[in-house]
């Protein structure tokens, strides 16, 4: 048991002293997730709005596919993206393999269904009087979309926070696409996996603490948003 306790003490020391290796992994994780969350929102929110707002033939089937993709295994995404961006793949020339944008691309595929599905649910659960009220007040086209998303803002933010949580804690695709290269593509989760394998618990625990703190922060944010939504 001592080694766990010692590892914990050393972890605090690493974090307090600003250990460059620890913070490199933290910043890489933040960079990757910021990129992936931004691109998933750009794609996911408009698609989610359309799925929730409009009635069209095949809507239920599309919804079923999107909901299935929520359970997409990270290693499957890693495998597919790897196949596409490796030298032999159709997008090999972009040189994305073992880069931060490469990992972000894989995470985007992973979390976009979460953004689409939860945004669609948020829009679907809006009061049916909203649309008529907006038209009665003179809103047209894009103004209706923006106002509807603003009405569903807490629910849409819950979608964003949930997607962010999935991205920051993801390990399979990051490992396969990023290659866990120190100072370059090593993220919090891939570092923990490696350090644990080597028996180096201190760095693993230090990064674990950071990850847990982030998760805690996200959960507090979610709790706050859910309360606002109920209000």
């Amino acid at each position: 048991m001592d080694y766990i306790f010692n590892g914990f003490l050393k972890a605090v020391e690493l974090l307090a002293s600003g250990n460059p290796e620890t913070y490199s992994a933290v910043f890489t994780s933040l960079k990757v997730t910021s990129l992936s969350i931004a691109s998933s929102l750009i794609v996911g929110i408009p698609l989610g709005f359309m799925l929730g707002y409009f009635d069209f033939t095949g809507k239920r089937q599309v919804r079923a596919v999107v909901d299935t993709l929520l359970a997409l295994p990270t290693v499957v995404v890693g495998l597919l993206v790897y196949a596409f961006i490796s030298r032999r793949g159709p997008m090999g020339e972009l040189g994305l393999l073992f880069t931060i944008p490469g990992i972000a691309a894989a995470q985007t595929i992973l979390i976009t269904p979460i953004v689409i599905s939860l945004t669609a649910t948020a829009i679907e659960s809006l009061d049916r009087r909203l649309g008529m009220t907006l038209i009665a007040l003179g809103a047209r086209g894009r103004q209706i979309i923006v106002a509807s998303l603003l009405e569903a803002r807490y629910a849409v933010l819950i979608a964003v926070v949930t997607a962010y949580g999935r991205a920051i804690s993801e390990v399979g695709a990051s490992m396969m696409i990023g290659g866990n290269i120190k100072w370059h593509t090593r993220t919090i989760t891939t570092a923990i996996a490696l350090e644990t394998g080597k028996g180096e618990f201190a760095l693993g625990i230090a990064l674990g603490i950071v990850l847990l703190s982030l998760a805690l922060f996200l959960n507090f944010l979610l709790m706050f948003l859910k309360r606002r939504r109920i209000a």
């Binding site: 909203l130 008529m132 009665a136 047209r140 603003l150 803002r153």
Partner: protein, 341 residues
């Protein structure tokens, strides 16, 4: 008041599933007029109002607005019409942002605070108390008044109200009625209002139509004659008119009770009759005559002092008496013709 038609509906049909159909073969609403819509729930009132506000599109037929066929992209035209529903929906924002929203989407941001203040005052909500309140910090009646303020601030050409006071407290209902009445008096807005409150309808609207089972029916605009009724020695009660004449009625249940007089119960004469048992013989001037195709009857309005009394005649009677607007007539009705509610 302008008299050219603002709305013209031709062979309009709206279907809701297989169960409901609203059919309006022909309807014309003059600009600046004030139309009441009445009828049982589920009869098609709300559907008609949604069609007139261009929120719903007819399944068949055409709605002309200002002589034009309106297309979906004619936003500048449809933005001149606004509708308030029975159950208000407020945006999840402050009262200020709710009231200002319509101006913001029109990009009319000048003087916005003063305009919001004016609109809130009109519906009896003091700006300093309510402007910063959140949408969930309002009672049902206050929410409906905020919703009304958010429509009035737009100074619409057509204001459509769908039972605006049906689900609010009495104080809010009075304030809403008063706000609508004074707004219309000030701006001459075309008003289309569905309500079960017939006394209010009779004070704010020029005419009333009835929608029942998806069809427009002419509404016998019963004459409402408010009190006070003063008891007299001969057992009758009288109401004094502003020019000193009196209307006589038999046993009103209360001094302030409003008497209902059916248009068909009033007889019209072109000469002053004498030696009649009828207690009420009143001289008046014909102000309006309308032909109701459904009933093959003519509705004639005549002004008697401050009252406008509506009478129902046959086409033959109108031709025989050679009636026309502006002509002097005598209206005859019995003291026992009044009904009391």
């Amino acid at each position: 008041m302008e008299s050219r038609p603002l709305y013209e509906l031709a062979d309009v049909v709206y279907r809701y599933g297989d169960h409901f159909e609203l059919a309006v073969p022909n309807l014309s609403i003059p600009a600046g007029s004030s139309i009441g819509v009445t009828g049982p729930n589920g009869g098609g009132k709300t559907t008609l109002l949604k069609l007139l506000s261009f929120i719903e599109k007819p399944y068949k037929g055409t709605i002309f607005f200002d002589g034009r066929r309106i297309r979906e992209q004619d936003h500048h035209v449809t933005r001149e019409i606004t509708i308030l529903f029975q159950e208000p929906y407020l945006l999840k924002r402050t009262v200020f942002d709710n009231v200002a929203y319509g101006l913001k989407v029109r990009n009319e941001r000048g003087n916005i605070t003063a305009k919001v203040r004016g609109a809130l005052n009109l519906v009896g909500l003091p700006y300093t108390v309510f402007a910063k309140r959140q949408w969930f910090e309002l009672s049902g009646g206050e929410a409906q008044r905020v919703a009304l303020a958010s429509r009035l601030i737009l100074n619409p050409r057509v204001l459509i109200l769908d039972e605006p006071t049906a689900s609010v407290d009495q104080e809010s209902a009075l304030l809403i009625n008063e706000a609508v009445r004074s707004f219309r008096e000030k701006y001459g807005t075309t008003l289309i209002v569905a309500s079960h409150d017939r006394i209010w309808l009779s004070t704010v609207t020029d005419s009333i139509m009835k929608v029942r089972k998806g069809r427009l029916e002419s509404f016998d605009p019963e004459n409402l004659i408010p009190g006070p009724w003063i008891h007299t020695d001969n057992g009758l009660h009288t109401k004094a008119l502003s020019d000193g004449r009196h209307i006589k009625a038999l046993s009103p249940p209360g001094k302030q009770t409003t008497g209902y007089l059916r248009p068909a119960d009033i007889v019209v004469a072109t000469n002053c009759p004498s030696d009649l048992s009828t207690q009420n013989i009143l001289e008046g001037i014909i102000t309006q005559m309308t032909f109701e195709n459904n009933e093959k009857a003519v509705f004639l309005s005549a002004s008697v002092a401050e009252l406008s009394l509506s009478c129902k005649l046959t086409q033959a009677a109108v031709e025989k008496l050679r009636l026309f607007p502006g002509k002097k007539v005598w209206l005859l009705f019995k003291a026992s013709s009044f009904r009391w509610h």
